[in-house]
């Protein structure tokens, strides 16, 4: 139950990409018919993706994943609008793929053209559920602000941010708005027209597509530079030979998501509620992490007091259950995650964060199994914990 870290490509997705790994291996930039066959496949994928998020195909640029899309959004806008605009607003709970490019820009010092101050970034606080307050966005906007980037839903705690409300403010102020929708595309309804964003990032492997392919939605008219520079692929917006099988795959994954969406939402919400209710009932001293209702259907994040995350994960793994602590995307260090800290979790509690995330293949039986196994694990570890009695 770690579908927030990655998902298994849908069998139909693998099936669809296979011919493009085998006999249909042309380069879409080649003039011969062999290349044009590949190009047609790329354009079909673009249509399928556009159809999922309700935009024009030309507004989709394929990338290598969520990280590249996020880096592209940040760099693309700020390098285009500098030096007049040199300010970015984001939140403290963004994915590292937003925070790190921002840190890099901040460290760049004075603006590249030497005109006045360098890049500035405002990292907005969130409340204890992880919600950004739209009014904080409004208050942070200055005449130097180029871009606001707030994630659609958080990968650790599942909280869904008030994107529409923020978009109203950015539109009013004439500031670009990017949202990292890596956790939401294919999981909940993502309609760029309805959301009102200018830029949106997604990654195929989070919605039953393969790893190494993603996209960025760039609303027509949005001014930005390239990020990957070289050939004139993707209408000059992203260089590099197109990952044709990957694009075919993400297209197929988008198409499937479109059909299955309401079913997915219904099913994962049901399983999640079953899991939450069962855990709360069976284990004392735990609490739900993130907003109770404004949350991703698939995300079941909790704080288990008195025990440490890795030891829970290992025990779960021994029982054949996958889960994650902090962000699976950035583990390795077991430092309490920046998200958990930003919502004001105490250091002790932060170590006890654990995230189950549900997918289309999970069943009620599996949830029952977790409800059977996990309380015992917590009990065993708590018996060992010197924090318990304090």
């Amino acid at each position: 139950m770690d579908y927030a870290a990655t998902t298994p490509p849908h069998p139909d997705v693998v099936e669809a990409m296979l011919p493009y790994l085998k006999e249909k291996f042309g380069n879409p930039s080649s003039l011969h018919s062999f290349g044009q066959e590949a190009k047609a496949a790329v354009e079909e994928g673009r249509k399928q993706v556009a159809n999922l998020i309700n935009c024009q195909p030309e507004e989709i640029v394929f990338t290598s994943g969520g990280t590249e899309s996020n880096n592209f959004a940040i760099h693309g806008v700020i390098h285009k609008l500098k030096p007049n605009k040199n300010h970015i607003i984001t939140s403290k709970i963004e994915h590292h793929a937003i925070l790190e490019p921002c840190h890099f820009l901040e460290k760049e010092g004075p603006a590249p053209d030497g005109a006045g101050a360098g890049f500035k970034v405002t990292y907005l606080d969130v409340d204890e559920d992880g919600l950004v307050n739209p009014e904080d966005v409004r208050a942070a906007i200055t005449d130097k602000t180029a871009l606001v980037s707030i994630m659609h839903a958080n990968n650790e705690i599942g909280t869904i941010e008030p994107i529409k409300e923020i978009a109203k403010i950015t539109k009013e102020k004439g500031v670009y708005f990017h949202t990292d929708a890596v956790q939401t595309v294919g999981q909940i309804d993502v309609d760029v027209a309805d959301l009102g964003v200018d830029l949106l990032s997604a990654s195929a492997h989070k919605f039953y597509g393969p790893k190494g392919i993603g996209f960025i939605y760039i609303k027509k008219g949005t001014r930005m530079t390239q990020f990957l520079r070289g050939g004139s692929q993707e209408r000059n917006r992203r260089a590099s030979t197109e990952n044709v099988p990957g694009i075919v795959a993400i297209g197929k994954a988008a198409e499937i998501a479109k059909t299955e969406l309401s079913e997915r939402i219904k099913k994962t919400t049901e399983l999640r509620e079953m899991l939450f209710n069962g855990l709360l009932e069976k284990i004392p001293d735990i609490r739900i992490n993130g907003h109770r209702t404004k949350r991703l259907p698939k995300n079941a994040a909790i704080i288990v007091k008195y025990v440490e995350g890795e030891s829970m994960l290992l025990n779960l793994d021994l029982e054949g259950i996958a889960a994650s602590t902090g962000s699976a995307c950035s583990s390795g260090s077991l430092e309490a995650s920046h998200v958990i800290r930003a919502i004001g979790t105490s250091p002790e509690d932060s170590h006890g964060s654990i995230r189950f995330s549900l997918g289309r293949l999970n069943t009620k039986e599996e949830v029952k199994y977790v409800l059977e196994v996990f309380p015992k694990i917590v009990q065993k570890l708590r018996a060992m914990s010197p924090l318990r009695r304090k």
Partner: protein
């Protein structure tokens, strides 16, 4: 991280030895803090300069639990002097090695042990372990 942890580590993690507290311990060690995420408590019984029993309580990752378990195993039946020569390396080696990022757990275990002996010495001789100062575990 089953791939990264040795079988021995996993074995001690699954079935940790000497979990719990001792009633009226002769020495108690307490190291680590909740901010860094690893806390170890170690309890020892000493008779005629020999450690007759040892127990631990640990809040921490797999390696922290396994090193606590191994450390208590290693010192049981040893004299204080012998126990003091049980280094973090010795604990890690007895576990078949630790991933580099987890070596600090073995340091914590050594410190917990020394801290318990320090406490024992203070109680019995009025002076602690000469030169003992636990490592800074806040990173």
């Amino acid at each position: 991280m089953p791939e990264a942890y040795s079988n021995k580590v996993m074995e001690h993690f699954k079935n940790p030895r000497n979990v719990g507290e001792l009633e009226n311990p002769d020495g108690t060690g307490h190291v680590g803090n909740p901010v860094c995420g690893d806390i170890m408590e170690m309890y020892i019984k000493v008779k005629d300069n020999v450690i007759t029993d040892a127990k631990f309580k640990t809040f921490g990752c797999g390696a922290a639990i396994a090193t606590s378990s191994m450390a208590t195993e290693l010192i049981k039946g040893k004299t204080i002097e012998e126990a003091l020569s049980v280094t973090n390396k010795a604990v890690a080696e007895a576990l078949g090695g630790l991933p580099p990022v987890k070596m600090h757990c073995s340091v914590l275990a050594e410190d917990a042990l020394k801290s318990a002996i320090d406490d024992y010495l203070k109680k019995t001789t009025g002076k602690g372990l000469p030169g003992f100062k636990p490592h800074d575990h806040t990173h």
